[in-house]
Amino acid sequence: MTTLAPYRSQLRAGRDGFTQLLRAEWTKFRTVRGWIIGTLVAALLIVGIGALTGANSECGIQLTPTSPSLACPAPPTGPGGEWVADDFYFVRQPLAGNGSITVRVTSLTGLYSTHGAFTPGQSPTAGMTPGVQPWSKAGIIIKASTRQGAAYAAMMVTGSHGVRMQWDFTHDVAGMAGQVSAAAPRWLRLTRSGDTITGYDSADGAHWTRVGTATLAGLPSTAQAGLFAASPQYSVISASFGGSSSTGGPTLATAAFDQLSRQGTWPAARWTGESIQSATSRAMDRSAQGYRQAGGTFTVSGSGDIAPATDNTDSVKQTLAGTFAGLIAVVVIGVMFITVEYRRGMIRTTLAASPRRGRVLAAKAVVLAAVTFVTGLVAAAVTVPLGERLLHENGNPIPPISALTWLQVVAGTAALLAVAAVLGLAVGTLLRRSAGAVAAVIVGIVLPYLLAVVPGVLPASAELWLVRVTPAAGFAVQQTIQQYPQVTADYTPRNGFFPLAPWAGFAVLCAWTALALALAVFVLRRRDV
């Protein structure tokens, strides 16, 4: 009697680890010609639209109607490397070495124009309305030099934000609250010791409170110190069909000082008044600004602002306008990565080979995210320098950004595409239908951005809401301009300002994707194929 051994294959059993799954999914992705072409199209769209945008955005100014167009000038650069506004009236003397300056402010008044800039031939203050701006400022300042953008520290009274200490354009610390008046004067003091400047305020000149301490690296031994006044542009933003229009005009602040006292070495014999302002400044004409000294009383009138610049366009984001086209392409690929399996019946083979369905979806997500991330990274790393160069050649000043911000934009764009593709995969798994899934994801990501950013019909509150809670919040990761509470500006998405910080906005998109992916895994495991 013979026993027959059952047949055993001589082949070694294959392992079914996650690596094998990844390899299987990568093989599927790489062998479908349309997906590889689609990925390349996504990259080309990003670069091509970036180049198109850069090449068709000229910026030029003509000093006279017949003169050739000059490139738009870049604003001055502050000590931190950022663009700043540095226009004010300065009544100054050199201060050699350490010392201090103390003054009492008894009033801050202002004028503002609602009819645009001043017309030559008229008195600069003709037709202006009395009223002080919320961030009109006047007080004492110690500044490295009179060059625009030079380091400084200042103590000031403001129109409606109380006493502030500000230094190096971006720093702002609140002091005493309340408005200044003859009945409620404000005493201000700045003390220099080496590179450190300390600001104090007081209501009576006897009891002093320290407001803040600024360290101005590399402050020269002889600095310029004295009184200043500045008043930012008045603007009313009205949203209308076809765009928001900003109307307004320059403003003037006038402050009265007395009880001026100084300590330390002040080598000059008298005060010098000077309006610090660039040729293209939107501040009032120099002739309207000035100072008067009568006995111990100084009256200083100034226009402009000492603050970070907030009215520049986000050039880096502008070069990446093609992200939307690339995003639509990768979403289409992400959706098809799963819906094609359903259409061709391939999903049955896939799930028979790897019965743990959650892992299959995870492997697909990893492969898809990796491919789109690399594509996006290459595309963005090419587009940003190319677009900036074209913008520069067309006369647009390019805002300085740090290497870290550059990395945030480029890696953020790549991550945005990767997460959007995975969102497409998840929604595709849920719906199993290509058209519906692609439309749902594009409508979810691109339409809210479109409604919020392209000037249209919605009020500002609705626009802010859209880019805060919808997946479109993720585009905040491309933002390189910042909002400052001490500067009044039209901080709306259409001007490039997102309500959420870059990575916080990106986290909103990730949260939507995680939710969709979790639902997709749940449904995929529960559902018959």
Binding site: G34, I49, L52, T53, N56, S57, E58, C59, S238, A239, S240, F241, G242, T313, Q318, A321, G322, F324, A325, I328, A329, V331, V332, V335, M336, T339, R343, N396, R433, S434, A435, G436, A437, V438, A439, I442, V443, V446, L447, Y449, L450, L451, V453, V454, P455, G456, V457, L458, P459, S461, A462, R494
Partner: protein
């Protein structure tokens, strides 16, 4: 006529069609209501276009109309039904024409419902939010010529979007790619034109954009600031739709199914 009847039966018996068209109407009206509700028009006056605000929902509704139109032909390619259809009706342009007739008829009905609901709700809500005679506005109603033009034009806009989507889908066949192309052409123009800062290019891109130019039909205020008149704008979209249908018809005619 038999071809139209056949297409109508196919469209009617798909389980998704009815729901999608219902969703298109409901979401269009819902977005219009939300937009009208978020408006505030203080005593100092405000600059807004009441008709355009209440018809904001079209931006979303068009995407759903595009899904329906794309599926009408791409769905046949993905199931292989197209071979049967073309065997039954060998004159291929007739198939496409029948599909166009059925889809645009369905869209016209859906669009009319959505637009009527949007304008009625918008009129009520905007009046409550200060868009009243006291602030220089007439209460929104179809009795005013421009509003009637905006409303009827929006319905036509949706039908043209359906034809445009159908043409693109006939040309590219795959539903995911077709809807991607349609939505990209609709949504990308305004985004890119807002990034381009050269005024003349900005204007050209807006004039070319099927969505931006097409939606000029909704404008009832500040007509002079538009780069095209409302009907010219709708004409731009009609040209896109005609181009897409022509490309789709030619490819369908000369390509192996």
């Amino acid at each position: 006529m038999t071809a139209v009847h056949a297409e109508w039966t196919k469209l009617r018996t798909l389980p998704g069609t009815g729901w999608l068209l219902l969703a298109a109407a409901a979401l269009t009206a819902a977005v219009g209501v939300i937009a009208a509700n978020s408006v505030s028009c203080p005593a100092g006056g405000c600059q807004l276009d009441p008709a355009k605000v209440s018809l904001t929902g079209i931006d979303l509704g068009q995407a759903i109309v595009a899904i329906v139109a794309v599926t009408v032909i791409s769905g046949e390619y993905s199931t292989g039904m197209i071979r049967l259809t073309l065997a039954a009706t060998p004159r291929r342009w007739l198939v496409l024409a029948a599909k166009a007739a059925v889809v645009s008829a369905a869209t016209l009905v859906t669009g009319a419902v959505a637009v009527l609901a949007s304008v009625q709700a918008g009129g009520l809500l905007l009046a409550r939010h200060g868009v009243t005679a006291a602030h220089g506005y007439q209460v929104l109603s179809l009795g005013q010529g421009p509003v009637l033009r905006a409303a009827a034009g929006s319905v036509l806009y949706l039908a043209l979007i359906a034809l445009f989507s159908l043409g693109v889908a006939a040309a590219v066949r795959d539903s995911a790619v077709a809807i991607g192309v349609v939505l990209a052409l609709l949504y990308l123009f305004p985004i890119i034109s807002s990034a381009v800062s050269s005024p003349s290019w900005h204007r050209h891109l807006e004039q070319l954009s099927p969505m931006t130019a097409g939606l000029y039909i909704q404008a009832t205020t500040n007509l002079r600031s538009l780069p095209l008149t409302p009907w010219q704008g709708l004409g731009v979209l009609a040209a896109w739709a005609a181009g897409a249908m022509l490309a789709g018809a030619l490819l369908l005619r000369f390509r192996d199914a």
